[in-house]
Amino acid sequence: MPTLKCPVCGGPVEVPDDAMPGELIDHDCGVTLEVVKKDDGSFELKPFEGVGEDWGE
């Protein structure tokens, strides 16, 4: 399980081995992070923009 750095607070974030781009992770600092695949195939985390009015189950 790789540990990535939170782009907002700099703290550690555990990302599952089989993570997929598009997965969301809530972080302690108060931000939701999204798993994004970089061009070189590795993962990074990006703050996730809030949900819109039509999002739901």
């Binding site: 781009p21 009015e53 039509d54 739901g56």
Partner: protein
């Protein structure tokens, strides 16, 4: 080999299950609608399982694939109707499926008129929205007026629109039944958190398996058919006075909780049904 896209905007557990399970039956790949353009009418796939959490992203990807004759689960028509409570109620009512007594109110004045016909308390909901977010209860004309006025300040036409509905005694719970290709897989009951009347899991509701019965199953299957749903969940209220009523249809159903409570894996059933459908 059959080729299917699992279309997403964010990847929840459901989408991971779908990708894994479908991958055992066919060539399944992820399609992230946030980074890729989709030509209307371009081909190359046999089917698309539509999973964006955003209703419009779901409907628009489905429609784009349909323009090329790709089989979509669900089709855009189902997604648009299921995603819009007012259109869904109208479809169900036209098919003589029982629903809560409901009015369409475009403005404050109309909402007050509707409530005066229904009697208080009333439930006010927006046609679009989920997780209980735009579902409110008004116990008096004052409260309703305040609420309806606030609603008129929302920026989207659809969230300004109101469904004014009788408040039903449901034990603060509802029943979610999952349907795949004309078969009901099973049901769960969602029971609202203490102090909350809305039984959304996002609002803390607990889930448990709920034993089906023929009356329920019949109504649920008719509801799924009325919206032309291939893979949908039907949310049902059980009331002492009126029996079962359909409250909601979901065209991109979450099923993590269902799987946990019942042991039934909708992803597997969907994969099999899809295979069968595409062979035809």
């Amino acid at each position: 080999m059959l080729r299917v896209a699992v279309v997403v905007d964010v990847v929840r557990q459901e989408e991971q299950m779908l990708l894994k399970t479908l991958g055992e039956y066919m060539d399944a790949r992820l399609f992230n609608v946030r980074s890729r353009a989709l030509e209307l009418g371009s081909d190359g796939l046999d089917a698309a399982v539509i999973r964006p959490i955003s209703m419009y992203r779901a409907a628009y990807t489905a429609a784009s694939f349909e323009a090329a004759g790709v089989f979509t689960v669900n089709q855009s028509e189902t997604i648009m109707i299921a995603g819009d409570k007012l259109l869904a109620y109208a479809r169900l009512a036209a098919a003589r499926i029982p629903i809560p007594r409901s009015f369409y109110a475009a403005d404050v004045e109309a909402a007050l008129e509707a409530a005066s016909k229904l009697g208080y308390p009333v439930v006010v909901k927006a046609p679009v929205g989920s997780w209980g977010r735009l579902v409110s209860r008004a116990d008096s004309p004052e409260e309703l007026e305040q609420l309806a006025n606030m609603r008129q300040r929302l920026p989207c036409s659809q969230t300004r629109s109101m469904i004014v509905q009788e408040y039903l005694e449901t034990g603060n719970s509802d029943i979610r039944c999952i349907v795949v290709a004309g078969t009901m897989l099973g049901c769960i009951r969602r029971i609202a958190q203490n102090g909350e009347w809305r039984s959304n899991v996002a609002l803390g509701a607990k889930t448990e398996a709920y034993p089906a019965n023929p009356a329920l199953e019949d109504m649920v299957l008719r509801a799924a058919a009325a919206v032309k749903g291939f893979f949908v969940s039907i949310d049902v209220f059980e009331t002492r006075e009126k029996g079962y009523l359909v409250n909601e249809v979901n065209g991109v159903p979450e099923f993590k909780g269902f799987y946990r409570a019942t042991g039934i894996n909708p992803a597997k059933r969907l994969a099999e049904a899809l295979l069968e459908e595409l062979k035809r």
